[in-house]
């Protein structure tokens, strides 16, 4: 039994099966991320004045990651084109670049996550707020050290964009003075919650795409010798997914970093 149109396009639709499949899959992905983006919009529109934070993320790193993904989109396209014209060596080089770029994207993302993870807001007993990165937090000692600042008004922590030269001093805080402390995880604020959910899901997509591309680059590329046309189709289909993942980031970056 052969399933028709796995490689050659069907004459009346002009498309082969897997391409229909991936476009349909991407349609559902649009709805998945669309649902999350609508959630973002509703939460943000519904937030009370001063609740929604600005400037919590590092725009430079975000820009770097945007460039990385844009570049990987180009190398993906070139890898497919190389397959199409039968230059297997070039395909290997271009998709190696794609993989490296994907990996560096994830590294930057990990760094950003870690940066939030060690960032604490500490409510003190005197009603002020200490905010900064944890430097020393040894449970055996009766103090901890952060690198940051102490503010009287919590709202200052929410709008970082309007403030210049935010101090980053080493501050030693006695544990007895601490009312409560919480790091900038998803539980800290709804903005961070949607940030971690959206970028986390996106990072999972990057990871999944990398695994597929990695397979096609490595063991899966043996198929090129046997059936170059089908292999090229695979590169095209995985490339379509990769472009979609890039596109999601193109929306994530302004929505989370720039507004």
């Amino acid at each position: 039994m052969d399933i028709p149109y796995t490689i050659k396009p069907r004459p009346d639709t002009g498309i082969y099966n897997a391409k229909v499949g991936i476009w349909l899959f991407l349609a559902s992905e649009v709805m998945l991320f669309g649902g999350l983006f609508s959630a973002y919009v509703l939460l943000r529109v519904g937030a009370s004045d001063g609740f929604w934070p600005h400037g919590w993320l590092n725009v430079k790193l975000g820009t770097l990651n945007t460039l990385i993904l844009a570049l990987s989109a180009i190398t993906t396209l070139l890898a497919w084109a190389a397959c199409k014209v039968g230059e297997f060596g070039k395909f290997k080089i271009f998709h190696a670049c794609t993989l490296l770029l994907a990996l560096s994207f994830l590294c930057v993302k990990m760094y950003e996550y870690h940066d939030k993870w060690i960032h604490y807001e500490i409510k003190l007993n005197d009603g002020t707020f200490a905010d900064g990165h944890m430097v020393e937090n040894d449970p055996a000692k009766d103090y901890l050290v952060i690198e940051g600042r102490i503010v009287k008004d919590e709202s200052l922590l929410y709008d970082l964009r309007s403030q210049k030269n935010i101090p980053h001093d080493e501050i030693k805080i006695a544990r007895a003075d601490i009312k409560s402390k919480e790091n900038y995880g998803p539980w800290h604020h709804t903005y961070l919650a949607i940030y971690f959910t959206l970028t986390g899901l996106h990072a999972l997509h990057i990871l999944g795409g990398s695994i597929v591309i990695g397979y096609l680059w490595g063991p899966g590329s043996r198929m090129y010798k046997r059936n170059p046309e089908q292999f090229t189709n695979r590169i095209e289909v995985s490339g379509l997914f990769w472009h979609f993942v890039d596109l999601v980031w193109i929306f994530l970056f302004p929505v989370l970093y720039l507004t």
Binding site: N17, A18, G35
Partner: protein, 627 residues
Amino acid sequence: METTVQQFPPFREGEAHPAHDDHGHGEPHEHHEPGFWSKYIFSTDHKIIGIQYGMTALFFMLFGFFLMILMRWQIAHPGQPVPLLGPLLEKILGQPAAGGAISPDLYNSFGAMHGTIMVFLGVVPLAFAAFGNYVVPLMIGAPDMCFPRVNMASYHAFFLGGVVMFVSFFIPGGAAQAGWTSYSPLATTIPTNGQAFWLVGMILLITSSLLGAVNFIATIIQLRAPGMTWMRLPWFVWTQFVTAFLLLLAFPPLEAAGLLQLMDNVAHTSFFLPTGLAIGGHLANISGGGSPLLWQHLFWFLGHPEVYVLILPGMGIVAEIIANNTRKPLWGYKSLVYAVLAVGFLSFIVWAHHMYMTGMGQKIATFFQATTMIISIPSVIILTCLFLSLWGGSIRINTPMLFALGWLPMFGIGGLTGLPLGLAAADLYLHDTYYVIAHFHYVVAPGTIFALFAGIYFWFPKMTGRKMNEFWGRVHFWCSLVFMNLVFMPMFAQGIKGMLRRMSDGGVNYSAARVPNAIDTLPGSVMELNHWIFAAAVALGIAQIPFIINLFWSIKHGEKVGDNPWHATTLDWQTATPPPHGNFAHEPRVVRGPYEYSMPGHAEDFTPQNEPDAPTAPKFSPAPAAH
């Protein structure tokens, strides 16, 4: 499951080894005698997968029905130990079923799981995945689904989701309790893990539907046999096509919502938890800023298309059976096609009619009220076409046809009683009463499930080569029809009298708390109906026994029939029974529409889609025999 699929092995084993191999993704794999595992568990044959889906879904439907019986007992006899099963329940579930009675918590989780199981593990897999998988490739003349391995993965994800749901009954605290709609903040504040299991289960089920939907659409677009143009597709295929699109596009927002609620439950975020939320009289330790309405929007964005996911395949089955048993073409095939497309599209913009009571605002309510009224137009077109198809037909009565005929008025009742709920003003009164329960059960229980029974009786001969017993089929139909109505009809009255759903004591406390004889109390007669409904529900359960026995008995002992016992025109009946691996010995060439019954000038009263024009009648124009 094994007993049903035993029909297939000879064909699979007899299948010649293909000369070359490009199964979807072209990895060369050795063809060898498939063992038990690859034949039944890891099968990529759409027919086996369809049967896997069907058997699993029937099991879950029975399980969901069983939960309902327990709930009806509790409603009729609040706090009384369940007869016969009480000690067993206590043994399995422990404290929540102390003394063999159903505690309010247990009632809540039964309610939530009854809805979830019936919708996501019962009707959708049976209507869409089972019938769609088995019948659609056959009907369009395809050798299999477009992506057989994705198809297998879809069933496995479904099965895993079902296992997660099932297991959640036995974890400490029991299964999810926040209703099948899982409204936040309730779903997050109940201090058990049931909801997390529910969400993980749902994500698996959604993944399964997604894989299935991609596969169905791609198959229908790509693998239609030569000559099978869009307007020659049997209407059942159209309904499955639209259903697949609904699943593809409506389920992901619920997946998004599920992820967010899972974050709320596990990572303690506040997506759906508002600032100032108090739990048990204390301010909750949450960051706040979330929106409970957001969950409802995301949920119902799936939830409403889901209703059409439940009903459309049923409509398709009924249409096939009506055309076949009236021995004449469906009335208004084109109207049916356009109507089902319109229903599919409109179903995406009616979701907030479930939310009139939430305070989302009058203007939004007005908009959704208008779209809701508009969607009833194509629905009525479909129902009217099916009714008119009966006109002037020489109707052949058999079990599938009885169920199809029963479906028409039952779905009619379900649909028409929905109109007052779609109007915001009337809904304010009827919302969350038993009227709603009665309405949507009429759509889904005597509606869709009747259509599914019809489909099982109808396609059983194709799956096994034997017919199910006609006498017991009719007993099953008439008893089901009577008891279904006895179960659900009184609920309209209860709802109109103001009886709320979700009350674990059947309204005893609610009624007693009111001033006796005041206008808003529940009269004793309304409460009394609970006993009648329970009795009818038990009788309905007993009425399914002939079906279950018939189903399994007929596999081995039913009346043997040929390839086309119903004298049907569609391609699924124009191949061997059961169809071999690859479905057709030769690729069928379609030359005509799907319902050419009683065509003048033909010897038989049915003309299969792939039957070339008779050579006996000399044709003036060159015959398009080669497509």
